[in-house]
Structures are given as C-alpha cells and as structure tokens.
C-alpha cells in the first residue's frame, strides 16, 4: 500500500513539473483517438503548426468524436479544451445545442466541398463519402445501388456499425433515409437478412471484413487508398452507387471558454492551409477541402468519386435522429 | 472353502511386492492385523478385484475368481466410511444391494423390511441416511450385506470410527451374520481386540507376506 502511494505521488510530481514548462501558450484540442495516434494526422499537424506559431499544441484523443464532446460537456466550464475537432455535420448540431461553442467568423465560401455547408460555429476541415468496400478477387459482381444491395442472393452478407454508437452507422441510416424517405423502414426490412452483424464501432466491422466474414463492409470511398499506399494491395474497391453517396464532412469549433481565442482562431485558419491539406489524405484517409499544388496522392486517383454527395441538414438530423434510429430498430426485428 | 494361494502383487515402483496365502471355511472370520501401509488394504483390493495380481489364485469351492471382474465376484465389501449414499433413504440404500432398477418391486421391499428388523432399524426405513448416527449407518451397511447374501464379506476397518459399546455390538452382529448366512469373512483391522472377540484365525503382514499367527 505504501508503495502504491509513493508511486502515485511520483506520478503526481512528474505530471505537475511537465505542465509547468515555460510560459508558452498551450492549445488543447480534443478529438477522436485515431486522429491522435502516432500514425494519425495529429503528430504532423502539431509539428507544422508549432513551426508557424509560438505555442504547444496538445491533442487529447477520446474513443470517438462524440466521446470528446461528452467529455467537454462533463468537464463543463473547467474544460481545458480550446478546440473540439472531429464531429461530423450530423452531430455538430448536438454540440451547438450545448451553447458551449463560439462563432468562428471565418469566410468558408472558398472551400472545395461537394455540398454547401455553413455553420456559425463549426468549420469543415475534410470530407469523405460513405461506401461499401469489397474485395475484387472474391466478389466479381458487386451490387451497384442500395436497391441492388438489398436484392442480392440470400447468402450475400454485409457488416454495418450500430448507428447508436458509430457515426458511420448513423451515416448509412441517413443515406437510406435521404434515398428512400418514408419508405426507409421497408428498405431496412428488405436489407436485414443480408446484415451479418452490427458492430459497436468501425474497427470491429472492418476487422471482420478483412477476415473474410462478409462480402461488403460499410466504410469510406477512401478506404482502398490505405491498402494501396500502405500495403500495396490493389484488390479492395468500393461500389459506386449512381444516385450518390452519403457524405461525412468533419468539422471543428472553438470553445467559448477557451483562454486562447486568438491562437485557436489561427488554428482554424491553418486547417484551410495547403500544409494541412497535404497532411490529411494519407493520415486521416479523407479528402482535404483545399486544392493544393502538390495535389492528391496518385492512389487517390484510382478511387471512385461519387456523382453526388448526399447530406441531410444537421438541424433536421437532430430533429429526427431518434425517429430514424427507432425506425431502423423496428425494421430489424424489435 | 475360500482358498487364496500365493497371490502376488507388485507395486507400481516395482521395488517390492506382497504375497498372500490364506484358507478359510464358511462361517469363519479371519482377522488381519498390521501397520498402516503394510499391504493389508491391497489384499482386500485384490480379493475384491479392484487390483489385479501378477500371479496366484483365488478359489471359492470350485469357482475360480482370479480373473473375474469386480461386479461378478460373489463379494460384499464394507469400508470404514463412505459405505452409503447419504442423500438416499435407508430402504433405498439397502435395495441398491440387489436391485438396480429405479422402481422397487414389492418382494424386495418386503425383504428389506425383514432385514432392517434383524439389524434393529425397522423404524428408520424411510429416513435419510445422513440423519443417522455413525453406528446406525454401519448397521444399514450390514443390512445390505444381508440382502446381498454373497458368500464372501470383506471388512476394511469398518468400526474403528465408533465408540467401544457400539463397536462391540457391531462385531457381534458381524459374527451372527457370518454364521447364520454361511459367509467367509475377512476383516482388516489395526486393533487386536477386534480379532480376539470374533476372529477364528488371525493373520499378520510380516516382510510383505501374509502369515498366520
């Protein structure tokens, strides 16, 4: 027991000394964990931004973007976060309702986005499309629309994520909603025999898919780029649905309670720089919202680009989210 | 006559082996004395068939038992403890000596009633065994010996856990049963008094060999 206490005291001491290093301002950014991983975008962004501005950038990774928001809510006024980064437009509205976020006052009209998005508080920094990924060597004739997906033979299986715990899962629900409207429930009934399993998060779903458990998995159009660039595997493809794919625009916002408002605003501006745009594709595996001289990595040219990005307005999503999820639950056998 | 000739048992470590020879008429009781670990219990295991001997023979009158499997040998065995199924009634415990079917037939049930009277347990027919005293429990075990009517009875220190009065009573009961049912009884014990009271012959383990005293 004494040893425990000693160790705890030691930890306490170490962490307080670490915090007291100089008067350099520290910009604290809460985000999801795959962003902060050593192979993620955060380390490079930190380095680039610290070169430009005299400060420390501290990324705090939480298990999901929603988790990061919840953490800020739990911390309330005492939160150390200056910026929340990583929500998508469907959930940003939830964050807006908390009243914790400040207006950004940036001009976002020049950003390259397949849809128009403007919000007083949240600024986009990258986007991607949801898509069903498959292995070309195993699946010769992939379904080419939501309709075709639900009409595949009986033993055709897909994996999706639970919309109650994963933004990817929620994305598919909204996708189906924006294509089928009031008939979404019927669609889910038709699709449900093809759903092998519904996982808590993206990682379990993708892991099962890579083990060959399902023919397709709900992921992003950019997923094959990872396999091409990091693993030199070219057999992973996404099915292109002509009516368009539901999109995910990732956004960030400054907290009202932040003591580094000016620095935080500089970071939001930095998100729209070429430097930032060059980091995003191969670390966060998404499209940047600024055209750069360097352009996208060549592997990205091989990716399917959907004809249209479907996106339901955030306010509408927030109004109907419970209803949409319940509709899905009912169709799947409640 | 029970004739056991040069029955030999070699221990697993192959370093020492025991040899047993003994003759026994019906209605007779043999007492076997010896230190613990001297090979007394091994003898009972051999006679009962739980262990196999490397040489020698066991014969009952004209019947050769040496190669017979345990359940076919005409033997009833009684241990110091664990002779009964504590969660069952007295009646069921005795019945298990003859009938393995779950449903009792009336003939057997009547027989059990008679035998329980003999051992003085008629009031306890439907009592669970775990509720009886140690002496009463051994009586139930003896009742089972009676119902089985097997010509050989092996006793492995059956009464050493009981108080003196009960023990003497039990020994007398064994003697009565042996004589009335024409049984060959072999009793392993560490108490010479037991032998003095009822044994017709006394054997002892000496240098790994069974020797008559």
């Amino acid at each position: 027991m004494i040893k425990t206490i000693q160790l705890l005291l030691l930890l306490l001491l170490l962490s307080t000394t670490a915090n007291a290093s100089g008067t350099k301002p520290t910009l604290t950014i809460y985000t999801y964990d795959s962003f902060t991983a050593s192979w993620g975008a955060a380390p490079k962004i930190k380095e680039a931004f610290e070169k430009l501005h005299y400060c420390n950038v501290k990324f705090v990774g939480v298990s999901s973007a929603i988790g990061a928001l919840r953490k800020i809510q739990l911390e309330g006024k005492n939160t150390k976060a200056d910026i929340l980064l990583g929500l998508d437009t469907s959930i940003a509205q939830v964050a807006n309702k908390t009243g914790l976020f400040a207006k950004h006052e940036l001009n976002t009209s020049k950003l390259v986005l397949p849809v128009t998005y403007s919000d007083e508080n949240f600024v986009p920094y990258d986007y991607s499309y949801f898509a069903f990924v498959y292995d070309e060597e195993k699946l010769k004739n992939p379904p080419l629309s939501l309709e075709a997906l639900a009409s595949m033979p009986k033993d055709f299986k897909i994996i999706m994520q639970d919309p109650r715990s994963s933004t990817v899962g929620l994305g598919l629900l909204l996708w189906v909603k924006s294509v089928y409207g009031t008939k979404a429930g019927e669609y889910w009934k038709k699709l449900s025999p093809h759903i092998l399993t519904i996982t808590k998060g993206w990682s379990e779903a993708y892991g099962l898919f890579l083990r060959g458990e399902a023919d397709m998995v709900l992921s992003y159009t950019t997923s094959p780029a990872y396999h091409m660039i990091e693993e030199h595997k070219y057999n992973f493809k996404t099915a292109n649905f002509p009516k368009g794919h539901y999109g995910q625009v990732e956004v960030a916002a400054i907290l009202k309670s932040s003591k580094n408002q000016a620095l935080a605003k500089k970071f939001l501006t930095f998100m729209h720089s070429e430097t930032f745009a060059n980091i995003i594709p191969t670390t966060n595996w998404a499209y940047p919202i600024v055209k750069t001289k360097k352009g996208l990595p060549t592997a990205f040219e091989k990716l399917n680009i959907p004809s249209k990005m479907l996106l339901i307005d955030g306010k509408e999503v927030e109004r109907n989210r419970k209803k949409i999820v319940n509709e899905w639950l009912e169709a799947l056998g409640r | 006559m029970l004739k056991i000739s040069h029955l030999e048992f070699t221990h697993k470590d192959a370093k020492h082996s025991y040899t047993y020879t003994m003759n026994l008429e019906e209605k007779e009781i043999v007492g076997i004395l010896g230190e613990s670990g001297s090979g007394k219990s091994t003898f009972l295991d051999l006679v009962a068939g739980f262990s196999t001997s490397s040489s020698g023979s066991i014969e009952l009158d004209t019947q050769v038992l040496t190669q017979m499997s345990v359940e076919k040998r005409p033997i009833t065995i009684l241990f110091q403890s664990h002779n009964l199924f504590e969660h069952l009634t007295v009646q069921k415990n005795v019945l298990l000596g003859v009938s393995k079917v779950l449903k009792e037939n009336i003939e057997d049930v009547n027989k059990v009633q008679g035998i329980l009277k003999e051992v003085g347990l008629e009031e306890y027919e439907h009592t669970q065994v775990s509720k009886l005293s140690g002496g009463q429990q051994q009586r139930v075990a003896l009742a089972r010996v009676l119902i089985r009517r097997e010509p050989i009875l092996l006793l492995d220190e059956p009464f050493s856990g009981l108080d003196i009065a009960t023990r003497l009573e039990m020994l007398d009961l064994v003697q009565t049963i042996t004589i009335e049912n024409k049984i060959h009884t072999i009793m392993v014990t560490h108490d010479i008094e037991d032998c003095k009271r009822i044994a017709n012959h006394v054997y002892k383990m000496q240098n790994n060999t069974l020797v008559e005293q």
Partner: protein
C-alpha cells in the same frame, strides 16, 4: 482465551474498513452521477429497454445452461480418463479461460468458426458445403459464452469429482452399478452444490457480457442491458436514463448474489488428483469420454491457435519499436502488478474478517455477526453488478470535481476498477481456504500463543501459498486484459495494451493488431502459469 478474543476482535477492523470503503465508494459513484446534472429529469424508460432486459436474462439463462452441460460432460470425462499424457497441462489451460481477453477470444473464434472460418473452409473443400453465418446472432453469443464458461465450469466440477471418496466408487463398482447409476448415486449429490454456485457466477458474467454480444450479436434484437446503458451515456447523454438502467441491472444482479447464498465461484487451483478411479470404463463409455475430451480440446485450442497463426504474420521488429507500444506495455504491466498486490491484500483482510465472524470459537456469537458477514460478502461482490461504464463515468465526474493531473486520475481509476473486478474471484478462492486453515490450526496456534507474524510464517503462508499465487495471477491477468475503464480514460499519454490493440484495429492496422493480440495472449497465459510459482512450489495437501 480472553486475550485471543480481544486480538481477534481487533483484527476485524481492517476488513470492516475495507468493506465500508467499498460500499461507500459505490454510493459515492451513484451519488456523483445523480448530482452531475443540474436538473435531472427521469425520462420514461422506453418499452424497448424491457425487451432488452428480457433478452439479456434469456441469453444469460441459455448460456449458463449450455456452459454447465458442456462443462459437466467435460469434467466427467476428465475425471474418468485420468491417465493420458498432457492431462494436467490441458486442465491448467482450460482454467485460463476466465482471464483471456474477451475481444481476442472473439476474433479467434471467428477465425475458426466464422463464415469464412477454418471449419467452413474445410467443409467447403471436402464436401462443397458451407455452414454459412451460423456464428452470428444468438448462436454466436452462446458459442462464445460456452467457450469461456464451460471450461471454467469444468475446472471447478472436476475438483468436485475428485473430492469423491474412492471407496464410494469401489462400493458402486462392487454393487455392479451402471455408468448412469454411478452418476446418479455417487457423483450427482457431490456436484449439485458446486453446480448451483457456478451457475450463479456464470449467469452474472453472461448477464453483463458486452464485447461478445456486440461483435457476435448480429442484430439489435440481440443486445443486452449494458448496450442500452452505453447508448444512454454515449449517444443520448441521458445520464438519468443510464443511472436508471444501471440501478435495474444492479438490483437484479444483487438479488442473484444474495439469493445464491453467498456467492462462491468454486474456482480453485488445486492440483488434479493423481490417484485414478478404480473403474475400468466400458468400451463405449471410454470412447465417448475420449471423444468429448478430444472435441472440446479442439474447440478450445483452435481459436487460440488461430490467434497465434494470425499474429505470427505481423512485423514484430516494427511493433516492438513503436513508442506507444512500449509505453502501453509498461503501463499495463505496472498497473497489473499494483492491482494484483492490492487485490491480494484486500482479499486477505476481507477473508480474515469473514472467518472471524463465521467460526463458532472465534466471534460467531458476536451480535449481528451473520448480518455483518453478509455485508462483507456483499461489498466484495457488489462490483460484479456495476457496469464498468457507470463506474468509469462516476470516476470521470469525480476527477472533474477534485482536480489532479489526468495521469494520476487515470491510474487511480484503472487500479480501482481492476481491483474491484478481481476481488469477487479473489475472495471466493481465499475465503474458504482461510476458513479451513483457521478450523484446522486455530486451537494449536492459540495454545502455542503464536504472534500474528509467526502465525503467518508458520501456518497461514505454507498452507495458503498456492491459493495466494493463484489469486495474484488471476488479478494480474484480469487487469492485463481489461478494456472497460480504459475506454474512458485512455489517451496517447495513458495507454494500456488492450487499448493500444483497439486503436490499431481502428486504424486499418490489422496486421499490427494481430501481432499485439498475440503478444497479449502470450503474456496473459505465461502470467497465469508462472506467477503462482513465485509464491513457492509445492502445495500443502488438504
């Protein structure tokens, strides 16, 4: 005797204090959650939640039933097939199922039994037939639960089988019992009490099962109450609802803990018997028993083997150089060591207080000793019933209220969670063992007037060391594999191996993930096998 009485009375204090701390802590957790929202509105529980509850009970019931049946068959076979090479090794391996990291096991099972698993591939190759996706849905949940719990049940049941006096078998044999009668009259009465208490443990474990249900459940129709709590906290941020659900779960499981008459898991580390049962099995029975052992061994080992096969493909030189891996490794090992030391200490003190109160010649005649004893057991077992998410949330709110560096809070939270998680198991191993030493040696110890230290050195330690080693290993492995609390506190600065593994899985790095999974599996198994040896070799015979 009066002096002893005083001495014992005083020794109640530490155990009681710990027990009170545990209870207070549970209360503080709930109270913190309750007061965290300024105006807590208790929203109506949706009818969906009741359906979830119904399913949770249903799947837990079925899982328990199947685990017991399979565990019983396995234990029966092992008890009667006492002589084959590798038996003791196999039995030790089976008992490790309790501490294997669930997420890893699930992926191992999928590699073997999944839609594209080995079984289906072999069958497709040989008979051109695939069994399809049978592993998902209720079936999958049951398979995984049976995998983890049947082997655990078989270990405890085997111990019961071996406690049956050999005379009983001789008697049954000479009375010419059939195999069935032998089971009914000789074995069943001994197994029944063990079975009941294992059943309640397995039921609790399955009731609160989370990772398995989420990956293999298939459809939201097969979700458990824990999932609903997760939803309430994470997505809806409806803390009132989460509290309500947690209380429902707590209420139900508490009922179970109380009514299963003193939660006892019957887990034990006792060596398997060397003396075989003198009963040459009939040929058919022998083949049946060997078949059961063979099939279950295959079922148990293949998924572990799959993890090894998956993992060997990874680039270990890269993994081992990764800074975050090294950090996670040391954090995990440090936490596991600390939490197993604390668990051991707590379990000893609680069990000591417990035996003082339940032994006649100690303090059993103290007023309220029975009630006191129930409170002691309850406080140790309480945390089996509190969802880790609720515990994590409570900790998080506490960390907000009382400011300290995150690393400190994370350490405290993880340590607490791990200790609380291991304590019920630790106590169930130690309490009966310590009770027995007291029963056996108290008179001697008191008459020689040994001091507490002498008592420990000469009596308790030699007798208990194998149990202590086992408890230590158990707590160590539990802590090593935990992915509950860390999900809320984990970050790049504070990461454990399972957390790191989960992060790798979440970033396309499946090959690295397999490698880390293998490392975690190897560490867990070796800790489970070798740690008990630290406490000294030979076990003092019962």
């Amino acid at each position: 005797m009066f002096k002893n009485y005083q001495r014992i009375k005083f020794s109640l204090l530490p155990g009681t204090l710990i027990s009170l701390t545990l209870l207070t802590f549970a209360f503080v957790l709930f109270y913190t959650l309750y007061t965290s929202q300024e105006n807590l509105v208790f929203t109506q529980i949706e009818p969906r939640v009741w359906l979830l509850l119904k399913f949770t009970v249903y799947q837990a019931f079925l899982s328990t039933l199947f685990s017991l049946v399979v565990g019983m068959l396995l234990a029966w076979s092992l008890a009667h097939q006492a002589k084959f090479r590798g038996r003791s090794w196999l039995v030790a391996l089976f008992s490790s199922s309790l501490v294997l990291p669930t997420l890893i096991v699930v992926f191992g099972l999928i590699t073997v039994l999944g839609r594209n698993g080995w079984v289906n591939q072999v069958s497709l190759y040989l008979f051109d037939y695939s069994f399809g996706a049978y592993l998902y849905g209720l079936g999958g949940i049951l398979v995984a639960h049976v995998y983890l719990n049947a082997s655990f049940a078989s270990r405890s049941l085997l111990h019961s089988f071996e406690s049956i006096p050999k005379e009983k078998y001789k008697l049954a044999k000479s009375l010419n019992f059939t195999t069935f009668q032998r089971f009914m009259y000789v074995e069943w009465p001994v197994l029944k009490p063990t079975l009941l208490s294992i059943a309640s443990t397995i039921f609790l474990l399955c009731f609160t099962s989370f990772a398995i249900v989420l990956v293999l459940g298939g459809s939201p129709a097969y979700n458990t109450l824990e999932v609903a709590i997760y939803e309430a906290v994470k997505l809806d941020f409806d803390i009132a609802m989460a509290l309500k659900l947690a209380l429902i779960q707590l209420g139900l499981t508490t009922l179970l803990v109380v009514f299963s008459a003193n939660f006892r898991t019957h887990i034990s580390n006792l060596k398997t018997a060397t003396q075989a049962i003198a009963w040459e099995e009939k040929r058919e029975v022998k083949y049946l028993q060997r078949g059961i052992i063979f099939l279950f061994t295959l079922f148990f080992i293949l998924p572990l083997f799959a993890i090894v096969v998956d993992g060997l493909g990874a680039d270990f030189s890269k993994i081992l150089q990764e800074k975050l891996f090294i950090k996670s490794f040391f954090t995990s090992m440090g936490l596991a060591t600390l939490s197993s030391i604390i668990t051991l200490l707590f379990a000893i003190l609680l069990s000591d207080a417990k035996r003082n109160l339940s032994l006649r010649y100690r303090l059993e005649d103290l007023p309220f000793s029975k009630l006191f004893n129930i409170v002691l057991s309850f406080s140790g077992n309480l945390y089996l019933a509190i969802p880790s998410l609720i515990m994590g949330l409570g900790f998080f709110l506490l960390s907000q209220r009382y400011e300290a560096p995150l690393a400190l809070w994370s350490t405290v939270a993880l340590l607490t969670a791990n200790v609380l998680m291991s304590l019920p198991f630790a106590q169930s191993v130690l309490a009966p063992a310590m009770q027995r030493t007291a029963q056996r040696y108290d008179r001697l110890v008191f008459s020689l007037n040994l001091t507490k230290i002498q008592r420990w050195v000469y009596v308790e330690y030699p007798y208990l060391k194998s149990s202590l080693g086992y408890v230590f290993a158990l707590a160590f492995c539990f802590s090593l594999g935990d992915l509950g609390m860390i999900a809320l506190f984990g970050s790049d600065e504070f990461s454990t191996l399972p957390w790191y593994l989960y992060q790798l899985m979440g970033s396309y790095r499946s090959s690295d993930a397999s490698g880390v999974a293998l490392i975690l599996l190897v560490i867990t198994l070796s800790a489970f096998i070798f740690l008990p040896k630290l406490f000294g070799g030979n076990h003092v015979k019962d």
